[in-house]
Every structure is written in structure tokens, then in C-alpha cells.
């Protein structure tokens, strides 16, 4: 009996809350509040990181600022990590998420990912400049450090014939690279870009063209069609005006094929 009455209460509570969710117009709410709350990374240089004064800056905070400007409201940035970013969006702690999230069918089921994709990351290698890595084919039979369980491991070994040396984490793989246990470290190109900006990695480079490009998506809470459309227009505008390419340059990111192709597509 108690369980049944509790279930009843939950059902009533959901009944009260759910229509509220469905009818909410995020855009109107944001304008009324005068603040747009965006979740970005704060530990993923140069896409979102802390500057010496403790402010979150980077590629994605710049994009967030642009959306806020278009809405005519102030911007508030909330640092998120991969493990909590979707929950933050679902719980309404953030209105918009621009946090290096790959666009996957599973994620599309739980949040609304804005079309088109604003950026894409691929797989590349970080290698010592003196190693003279020139092409993926040139890595055939060479030792390449990997992260255990990374989705690109099989393709690199099977298709490109590299001899993979996979470690449990990034720190181990980077140490092995520094110790000369492998000629290169295959990893996400945007993360390598961040590594290369650290002063101790001055001798390293990212010499290849990225492969296995995965698009990234900005997302809004499920059902926020009007808001998603608004953001979508902004993204198309970014590609059209070359803003993404300009931001790559501003933050010292090696120009990606993805940004180039998107610019060509929407021109």
C-alpha cells in the first residue's frame, strides 16, 4: 500500500513538472533572465581553459560569447567535464553546452544536438620533430604509443600497420614517447594541439593529416526546438563567415580539414 501511494505521488509530481518542461521556451527564459549560461570545458586547452586570472577562456568560450551577443544577454560560463555535461544540460544548470562533445546517435537520443556540427576532431600523432614523421604510411611497422581502449587503435594497426604500444593513460603514453619507446603518440588531434602549446613540448609536432574525423555538436535540452534553430543559424553563420577558421588561428590550433570543408560548404 505504501509503495503504491508513493508511486502515485511520484506520478502526480511528474504530471505537474512534465508539462512545465515541455512548454518552457528556453529562449524567452534566457532573455527574461538577461543571462545565457553555457557549459564549456575548463581543462581542455585551447578549447576551454583557465587563464592566469582564473577566467575560463578559449575557442569554445568565444563561441559562447557570440551566441550571448546574438541574444543580447550577458554570458555566464560553467565549467563541465565529460562525465557531467549531459546531466547539467538535462537538469537545466546550463542552457547550452559547447564542450568538445562528439556527435553520436546515442547522445542524440538524450539531448538535442544542433545541426550543423560546429567542429570536428580527428586522430593524429604527436612526434618529436627530429623523428621526421611524414605520412601515415611511413609509420608502418613503427612503434606508436596508444591509449588502451581508444576507438582508433584497431584501424591504425590493421589498416596502417603501425606497431601499437598501448598504455593505461595519457601520462604513461606521453612518458613513453619522451623516453623514446615509440616514434609517435596517436591521440585526438585537438588534445595534441593542447599538449603542443605547453612549453616543455617545444621539440614536438603534429605532422600528419588527421584521420577518422568525428564531428562535435553544440547541444540544448531535448525539445527546445526554437532555441536549437536559433543556435543552428549562428553555427551556419560561423562557417559562412570563416569565424571557426579565424578562431583556430586565434587559439593556435592547426587548421583542420573539417573547418575548411564546412566553410567551403556554406560559402
Amino acid at each position: 500500500m505504501r509503495i503504491r501511494s508513493m508511486l502515485g505521488m511520484i506520478a502526480v509530481a511528474l504530471g505537474v513538472v512534465a508539462p512545465g518542461l515541455a512548454n518552457a521556451d528556453a529562449m524567452a527564459d534566457i532573455k527574461a533572465k538577461g543571462v545565457l549560461i553555457v557549459g564549456t570545458k575548463a581543462d581542455y586547452r585551447p578549447f576551454g581553459f583557465l587563464d592566469p586570472s582564473g577566467k575560463v577562456v578559449g575557442f569554445e568560450p568565444d563561441l559562447a560569447a557570440d551566441i550571448a551577443k546574438r541574444l543580447g544577454v550577458k554570458l555566464e560560463l560553467v565549467p563541465v567535464v565529460a562525465a557531467n555535461r549531459i546531466q547539467f544540460l538535462q537538469q537545466g544548470k546550463i542552457d547550452l553546452m559547447i564542450a568538445t562533445m562528439s556527435d553520436t546517435p546515442e547522445r542524440r537520443k538524450i539531448v538535442d544536438i544542433v545541426e550543423p556540427n560546429y567542429y570536428g576532431s580527428g586522430t593524429n600523432v604527436m612526434a618529436k620533430k627530429s623523428a621526421g614523421v611524414k605520412s601515415w604510411e611511413g609509420l608502418k611497422g613503427q612503434k606508436v604509443c596508444l591509449i588502451q581502449g581508444a576507438f582508433y587503435n584497431k584501424e591504425l594497426q590493421e589498416k596502417y600497420g603501425v606497431e601499437g604500444v598501448a598504455f593505461p593513460g595519457t601520462a604513461e603514453a606521453l612518458t613513453a614517447l619522451r623516453n623514446g619507446n615509440c616514434v609517435g603518440f596517436a591521440y585526438d588531434d585537438t588534445a595534441i594541439a593542447g599538449e603542443l602549446q605547453k612549453p616543455e613540448n617545444g621539440d614536438y609536432e603534429m605532422p600528419l593529416t588527421s584521420i577518422l574525423v568525428q564531428p562535435w555538436g553544440i547541444s540544448v535540452k531535448q525539445g527546445e526546438k526554437a532555441f536549437a534553430d536559433f543556435v543552428s543559424k549562428a553555427v551556419i553563420d560561423w562557417h559562412k563567415t570563416g569565424q571557426i577558421v579565424a578562431l583556430e588561428k586565434k587559439w593556435g590550433i592547426k587548421p583542420t580539414k573539417f573547418a575548411e570543408e564546412m566553410q567551403a560548404k556554406y560559402k
Binding site: 587503435n153 590493421e158 623516453n179
Partner: protein, 242 residues
Amino acid sequence: MQPVWDWFRWLNQATGINLTIFYDAFDRTRFASGFWMTVKLSVICIVLSILIGILGAWAQGSRHRILRGAMHWYIQAFRNTPPLVQLYFFYFGLGSLITGVTGPLVTNVGWAIVSLSFFAGAFNVEIFRAGIEAVPRTTIEAAASLGFSRWQTYRQIVFPLAFRISLPALNNNLINLVKTTTLAYAIAVPEMLYVSSQIWSDELNVPVMMNVLLLCYFLLVGIVVWMMSRWERAVRVPGFGV
């Protein structure tokens, strides 16, 4: 062999038991090479650790204080620290110091052999010491009275007897050594656990591969146990028991 591989492909379609290590050529090659690497690691480390044990037990009874002290500290260092920490120490710590012009002098496989052999060797020294101490004092005195030198007594009388006494404890340690080779996974030595984890993260057949691993190790350790117990029986001295 093609019909066999096709049968495993059919098994996957029919039952969901996804044994890519049979029907996918790439996975088959890497699993076989992983299995082989585990066998190689085990055999080399068993031989080296037994050698370390024999020499170490001899050094422990040496008249030289420095040699005895060194042995004592070697055993303390390797017995009192986890083998995974030792592997990390050798590969990342020592490995970064020992580099040649073109790169590291010792590969990850090399460090795994060094680290695992010294680890198991430390235990073997203690196992052999226990065996040596079980050899009756009177036997050694008899050898001395017959004019045997210390090394001759050790080689021809004490060690052969001590070895027989030590065998059961040695078996335990060697079985543990075979199982400990899985730790080499952490420094990317492509042994069986390492390749299996590569395969299950690519094919998402984690439960199946876990079972395969369990069976493979059961088989490998079973072979070691079988060989060691045969050896034990072969060298048994009737009437000399413990």
C-alpha cells in the same frame, strides 16, 4: 582451416558468442602472438628466476659480509614491494635514464623479463635457503671431513638435496610467476591479457574474451603444474622425505 573459422562466424551469428580470435584474421594473429608472448615471458622468467635463486641462496651462506648484505637487501627490496610498482620503476624510472643514442637500450619486453625475474628470484632465494637449512648439519660435516671445498659441498651435496626439499614451495612460486606475467600489460608488453583487452575494446566482446583468458591461463598453469609434479617424482630420493 577455413571451415573452422566459418563455423565460429556462424556461432557468433547464431548464439552471440563472438570469438573474433578465430574468424577474424587480424584478431587471430594478435591473439596467437599474445599467447606466444606469455609463454616466452613465462619460460624465460622461470629459468632466470631459478638461476637467481640458486646463486642467491649460495651467496646468502657466503663468508663475505658484503655479499651477504647485498643479498639481504635485494630480497628485502623485491619481496617488500608490489611487482606492478617494480615494473613501473624499471620501465618509466630506470628506463628513462638508461638510453642510448638512438633510443632506449632496453625494450618494454626486456624490462618485464628483468623485473619479473628479479621479483620471483627473490622468493626463490628464500625457498632454496629453507631447503638448504633442512639439509642435516651432519651431512655437510661428513662432506667437509672428506675434503670437499665449500663450493663443491654446495654444488654436489647440499644443493641437490636442498632442491628436492624446495620443489613443492618452488612450484607455488613459479605458478605465481606465470600468473604475474599479466602485469606486463601495464607497460604495454603484448602478452595475452594485453592483446585480449585490445580485442575486447575493439569488438566489445568483453565477457567472451574474459572466459577465453580464464581458460587459457588455466591451461598454461595446468601445464606448468603437470611438468613440475613430474619433475618432483623423477628426482625423488626414496627414503629421503620431508
